[in-house]
């Protein structure tokens, strides 16, 4: 098999492959920077929990109008935001910390979502919702993902400083501005939006993979925030490409192939990254000051 057949031909020959590549690329552009902030705020697991929380919303959409994109996405956004707000409110007004309340809410949501889908759908529908179908992105889905990417990038560039301040020194931000809670809220909204964007392609369970894994990998290479975001996007794009090709040639599920590729990049970064496992080798020389 020559390199053209291996790398290029699948995308030339099949429109669904091009759509998959384009859709995941758009998703990566917005989800990876969001993932960086998620990681830096130590909320990676919260992201995972919120991804589960989207499920009952999409399930209600599915119950109402079958496997159609808009109702399911809208349901997902509403459910995701509701869980994010509820867990935030619980942690502020009770002794329970945010992680514990998120865990409680997402377990309830996951069970509720699966139950709702099983009311009407088959196990194939359930698989579709849980693990997505990146090879079946229609125009509607591409438009939705594109819109989410645009909104996310615009919002991130507007509130970049606020987000940095809220991560770096929240107490300081509180002393000079009332923007902190709103920035946090807007950020949660972006997380939910990107998870909903990802669910069509990767499913509710794996959507968070493209958000968290490239971000975690990028952390091993740089200490500059901007570079970290760019690197995460790069890792994400590579994961999409390799994952789709692997899935095409080996006939394996595409969503998991993409996320596993991102996982492999994470593993490589963990071992070989500039701030990874081998970075702490002893140096034989030291500077004079």
């Amino acid at each position: 098999m020559n390199p053209f057949d291996l790398l290029i031909a699948p995308f030339v020959d099949f429109e669904f492959m091009r759509r998959a590549l384009g859709g995941t690329a758009l998703l990566t552009l917005s989800a990876c920077p969001v993932g960086i902030f998620l990681m830096l705020r130590r909320m990676s697991l919260s992201g995972d929990a919120m991804a589960h929380a989207i499920l009952p919303g999409t399930a209600v959409g599915f119950l109402v109008s079958g496997l159609s994109l808009l109702p399911m996405s809208l349901g997902g956004i509403v459910a995701g935001m509701a869980v994010a707000l509820a867990s935030g409110a619980v942690s502020r007004s009770t002794i329970q910390k945010e992680d514990a309340s998120l865990a409680a809410f997402y377990l309830i949501s996951l069970a509720l979502g699966v139950l709702l889908i099983s009311l009407k759908g088959s196990s194939i529908d359930l698989m579709h919702v849980l693990f997505g179908s990146v090879l079946a992105l229609n125009n509607e889905a591409l438009l939705l993902i594109g819109g989410i990417a645009f909104v996310t990038i615009a919002a991130l560039s507007v509130m970049w400083r606020g987000l940095v301040a809220e991560c770096l020194d929240p107490l300081f931000l509180r002393s000079v501005s009332r923007a902190g809670p709103y920035v946090h809220l807007a950020f949660l909204m972006l997380v939910v939006l990107n998870l909903v964007g990802g669910f069509q392609a990767l499913g509710t369970l794996l959507a968070v993979g493209l958000m968290v894994l490239p971000a975690a990998a990028a952390r091993f290479w740089t200490r500059r925030l901007e570079t970290m975001c760019a690197l995460a996007v790069g890792f994400g794009l590579i994961s999409n490409l390799i994952g789709l090709l692997v899935s095409y040639h080996l006939s394996v599920a595409s969503g998991p192939a993409i996320v596993l590729t991102a996982g492999a990049l994470y593993g490589l970064s963990l071992v070989f990254g500039r701030h990874g496992l081998f970075a702490r080798r002893p140096t034989w020389r030291h500077r004079a000051a």
Binding site: R161, L168, F172, S175, A179, T222, R223, R224, M228
Partner: protein, 248 residues
């Protein structure tokens, strides 16, 4: 008399329990005041109330109209995430927030101002250092640079010299005196009474209730100190509701 802050029968606290009990008094523009008292006597709580992060349980804080938000606050326990990928420059640049808001781009003039602030606290050349590599003293210097940049008329410092070596204390004290010379009002929570006696014209002695507020030498008299220690009794979960309503 040019009051920047006026406390009127001010009560601050948590869950209904007062940490600052019936405080009256005035912070003058350009004054340099030490706040002293035993642990748990309401010093940090008072500063939080002044910044507006804590709402009074009773009484009022009147802020001069000209003061509107022009307050720099350096808390005792900062919530700075030292693992966040930010440089000293990024941290200090936050000080421009009030003047520039969320949507600003750092101009060459801003950059110059930040460099000057860093030089003033002895951190010249630290601009690109990651904040995870700073020592406790260096971090405190950087935070002073940030306060410097905030260019506020009222500066609140909560135990700024905790766990900091004498050289750094001396340098940072130079910065405080410079602020005093520029006519800014400064409130500093301190435990080192020698430092208070040496440098602060006025002192507020708190033990939840204000014990004394005035000229430092008068306030730090032995009988006042004794009273402060006695008054600062332990926490009583079921303390009766305070019946005092006058503002004496």
């Amino acid at each position: 008399m040019n009051p920047l802050l006026t406390f009127q029968d001010l009560i601050l606290g948590y869950d209904g329990h007062p940490a600052v009990h019936h405080l009256d008094g005035v912070v003058e523009a350009g004054s340099l005041t030490a706040i002293v008292g035993p642990n748990g006597s309401g010093k940090s709580t008072l500063l939080q109330g002044i910044v507006g992060m804590l709402r009074p349980l009773g009484g009022r804080i009147l802020r001069a109209e000209t003061l509107e938000g022009d307050i720099a606050y350096l808390p005792q326990l900062t919530e700075i995430d030292r693992s966040f990928p930010a440089s000293v420059f990024d941290l200090v640049a936050l000080g421009l927030w009030k003047r520039r808001g969320m949507l600003w781009h750092i101009s060459p003039a801003d950059r110059e101002e930040i460099d000057l602030a860093l030089a003033a606290v002895g951190l010249d050349g630290f601009q690109r250092r990651g904040i995870d590599t700073l020592s406790g003293g260096q971090l405190q210097r950087a935070l002073f640079a940030r306060v410097l940049l905030q260019d506020a008329r009222l500066i609140l410092l909560d135990e700024p010299f905790n766990a900091i070596d004498t050289k750094t204390v001396r340098d940072l004290f130079g910065v405080i005196r410079r602020w005093h010379g520029e006519g800014r009002a400064i409130l500093v929570v301190l435990h080192d009474l020698d430092l208070v006696r040496e440098f602060f014209p006025t002192t507020l002695l708190l033990a939840r209730r204000p014990i004394a507020w005035g000229e430092t030498r008068e306030v730090l008299k032995a009988e006042n100190m004794m009273k402060a220690r006695q008054l600062n009794q332990g926490w009583d979960e079921h303390a009766p509701w305070c019946e005092r309503s006058d503002a004496a």
